[in-house]
Symmetry: C2
Subunit: 347 residues, 2 copies
C-alpha cells in the first residue's frame, strides 16, 4: 500500500505526462492530412515515456525548497515533450537501420510506407523538437539537447562503423552505448535539475544517475534482442546479430569460447576482414537458424546473458548512489524506483 505522498507524486506525474502527450500532438499538428496520419501512427509507439519521466522526476526531486518537491516550471514540460520527440525520431530512424518490421506490436513506418517516408518523418520529428525548444526564453535547454543529439548520432555512426567487426571490445561497446543512449538520458536528468535551480552538486549527481541509467537501459535492450520473448517485447528481435552488431552478451561469448568455436561462429556470422568493412553496403543478412540456436545455447552455457545483466545491475547501483546529494523526497524515491525497473522490465 502506497503512502499518501507516493500517491500524490504518482498522480502528479500522470497528469504531467498527459500534458506532455497533449503538447506533443499540438506541436506536430500539420495542415497536411498525410502528415497527421503518419504522426498518429508514431504516437502508437509511445511506451513508458522514460525520458520525459526523467526530466519531470529530476525536476521535482531537485527543487531547492524542501516541501516544494512537486514544483515544476513550464520549461520542464516543454523539455519533457522535446526529449520524447527526439526519442521518437530515433526510434523511427533506428527501425530503418535495423530493417525492423514490428514495433509496439504494430508495423513500423518503414514497413508500411517505405524507408523514404520513415527518413522524412524522423526528420519532421527532429525539426519540431528543436522548434519547440526555441519557444523557451533561454537557449540553454536547446543547447544541451543539441549537444546530446550530436553525441547520440556519433554513437550510432560509431556503431555502424563497427558493423561486422566481430572483434569489437567491451570498451568500444560501452563508448557506443554511452553516446547513443546514455547521453540523452543524462541530459534529461540534468535539464530537470537545472530548470529547478538546483545546486551544481545536485545537477552533476542527476546527470550521472541519468547517464548510468541509460547505459543499463541499453544493456537490457541488447539482452532482450537476444533472449526476449517476442510476444512481450513487441518489436523485431534478433536484429543485432543479423545486422552485424556485437553487444555485451555476444562480446562476452566470443571471448569465452575456445578458438575453434570462435572461428566457426565468426565464419557463420559472416566475418569480413577489417579493411573491407568500410565498403559494406549491408543489407540484412539472413542468419542461419541453426547457428542462432547454437549461439543461444552457448550464451546460456557460458553465462553471457547473466554476465551482461550483472553488469547492468552494477551500473544501476551506481546510478542510485549518484542520487546521494539529493534530500530524501517522494520524487527521489521515484527515481530510485525507476532505476530498479530498468533491470526487471521484460519489454
Amino acid at each position: 500500500m502506497l503512502a499518501p505522498t507516493d500517491r500524490a507524486i504518482r498522480l502528479r506525474l500522470a497528469e504531467e505526462l498527459a500534458e506532455v502527450e497533449a503538447r506533443f500532438s499540438a506541436e506536430l499538428l500539420s495542415d497536411l492530412p498525410c502528415v497527421n496520419t503518419l504522426v498518429a501512427h508514431v504516437e502508437r509507439y509511445r511506451g513508458k515515456m522514460l525520458r520525459p519521466m526523467l526530466v519531470l522526476a529530476s525536476g521535482m526531486a531537485s527543487s531547492p525548497a524542501p516541501g516544494d518537491s512537486l514544483a515544476l516550471t513550464d520549461a520542464h514540460r516543454v523539455v519533457a515533450t522535446v526529449v520524447e520527440m527526439v526519442h521518437m525520431a530515433t526510434l523511427v530512424h533506428d527501425d530503418i537501420l535495423d530493417d525492423a518490421d514490428v514495433r509496439r506490436s504494430g508495423s513500423t513506418v518503414n514497413k508500411l510506407h517505405g524507408n523514404e517516408t520513415a527518413v522524412m518523418l524522423g526528420d519532421y520529428l527532429i525539426s519540431h523538437a528543436y522548434h519547440l525548444c526555441t519557444s523557451l526564453p533561454s537557449p540553454l535547454p536547446g543547447r544541451q539537447i543539441a549537444d546530446a543529439t550530436n553525441t547520440v548520432c556519433e554513437g550510432e555512426l560509431l556503431q555502424l562503423a563497427n558493423r561486422e567487426n566481430w572483434d569489437l571490445d567491451e570498451a568500444t561497446y560501452f563508448e557506443i552505448i554511452r553516446r547513443k543512449t546514455a547521453s540523452l538520458c543524462g541530459a534529461c536528468c540534468r535539464l530537470g535539475a537545472l530548470l529547478s535551480g538546483a545546486s551544481p552538486e545536485i545537477v552533476e549527481g542527476l546527470y550521472t544517475c541519468g547517464e548510468k541509467l541509460g547505459v543499463a537501459v541499453q544493456i537490457v535492450d541488447d539482452v532482450l534482442d537476444l533472449a526476449g520473448d517476442p510476444k512481450t517485447v513487441g518489436k523485431s528481435l534478433g536484429r543485432d546479430l543479423e545486422k552485424g552488431k556485437l553487444t555485451l552478451p555476444t562480446i562476452h561469448l566470443l571471448r569465452s569460447v575456445g578458438p575453434q568455436t570462435r572461428a566457426r561462429l565468426m565464419a557463420g556470422l559472416g566475418h569480413t576482414p577489417a579493411d573491407a568493412r568500410a565498403d559494406i553496403n549491408a543489407d540484412i543478412r539472413p542468419t542461419d537458424p541453426a547457428l542462432l540456436d547454437e549461439i543461444h545455447r552457448l550464451l546460456g552455457q557460458h553465462g553471457s546473458l547473466d554476465y551482461a545483466l550483472t553488469l547492468a545491475r552494477r551500473v544501476i547501483a551506481e546510478a542510485k548512489e549518484a542520487l546521494a546529494p539529493l534530500p530524501p523526497s517522494p520524487a527521489r524515491d521515484l527515481l530510485l524506483e525507476m532505476a530498479d525497473a530498468v533491470i526487471t522490465r521484460k519489454f
Copy 2:
C-alpha cells in the same frame, strides 16, 4: 569589366564564404575519426553555396545605413553556416529517397556506406545545425530555421504521399516545391535582413524574393533531371519518373497528350490506383528505356520543358520585383544577378 564596388562586394562575399566553410568544418569536428571521414566526404558535395550567399547578400543589401552596405554581423555568418548544414543534410537524406548513386560526380554516402550511415550522417548534420543556432544570443534565428525545416519536411512528405500519383496537378506540385525548397530560401533572405535590422517592408520583400528564387531553383532542377547533360549535372538523373514523381514538365505533358497516349504512358510508368498508393513500399522502378525515349521526344514535341522554363523565368522576374523596396547597392545587384543565374545554370 566590373566596377570597383562590384569587385569589392565579390571579394567580400568570397571571404565570408571561406569563413562559412571554416565554421562548417569546426562545428562538425568530432573526436571520432569515423565521423570525420564521413563529414569530409559530405564537404565534397559543396556547390554554389546558394543558401549562405542568400543570407549574406540579403544582409549586406538591407543594411539601413547607406554606404554601410558591406556590414555583416557575426550572427549572419552563424546563420549562413547553419543553412548550409541544413541543406547538406537534406542532400544526404534526399539521396536515400532518390536511391541516388552519384552527386557532384562522386559516389553518394548511401552508395558508399549504405542507407543506414546516410540516415545517421544526415541526422548528425541536422543536430549540429541546431547546436550552432544555440550559440546565438537570440532564439529568433533558431526558431525561424526550425519553422523552415518543419515546412521542408512537410513538403517532402507531401511529395512522398503523391508518389505514383500520375494525376498530380500543378497546384499540388507548387505546394510541394514551395514547402520543400522555397521555404528555406525565403528564410535565408529574411534572416539576412532581420539580422541587419532592416525595416519590415524590406524583410518582407526579401522573404518573397528568396521564396520565389527557391521555386525557380526547384523547377530548373526538375527540368535538369529530365533533360540535363549527365556529365555537366554531376548527379543521378531521371530519378523523378523512376521514383514515381511527376514534376512540372511531366504534369504539362500528361495533360497535353491525347487520352490514348496518356493512358499508354501511365500504364508504362506503372499506374497504381489511388487507394493502393498508401501501401507502396516503393523500391526503385526500372523504367523501360524505350518509354523514356518516347517521353523525351514528347516533352520536346509538346513544348513541356519550355513551358516549365517559361514559368521559372516568370517567377524569377517576380523575385526581382520583390527587391524594389531595397535601395540600390552592389549587394542588391548581386541578388538580382543570383536570381538570373538560377535560370541559366546547367547544373
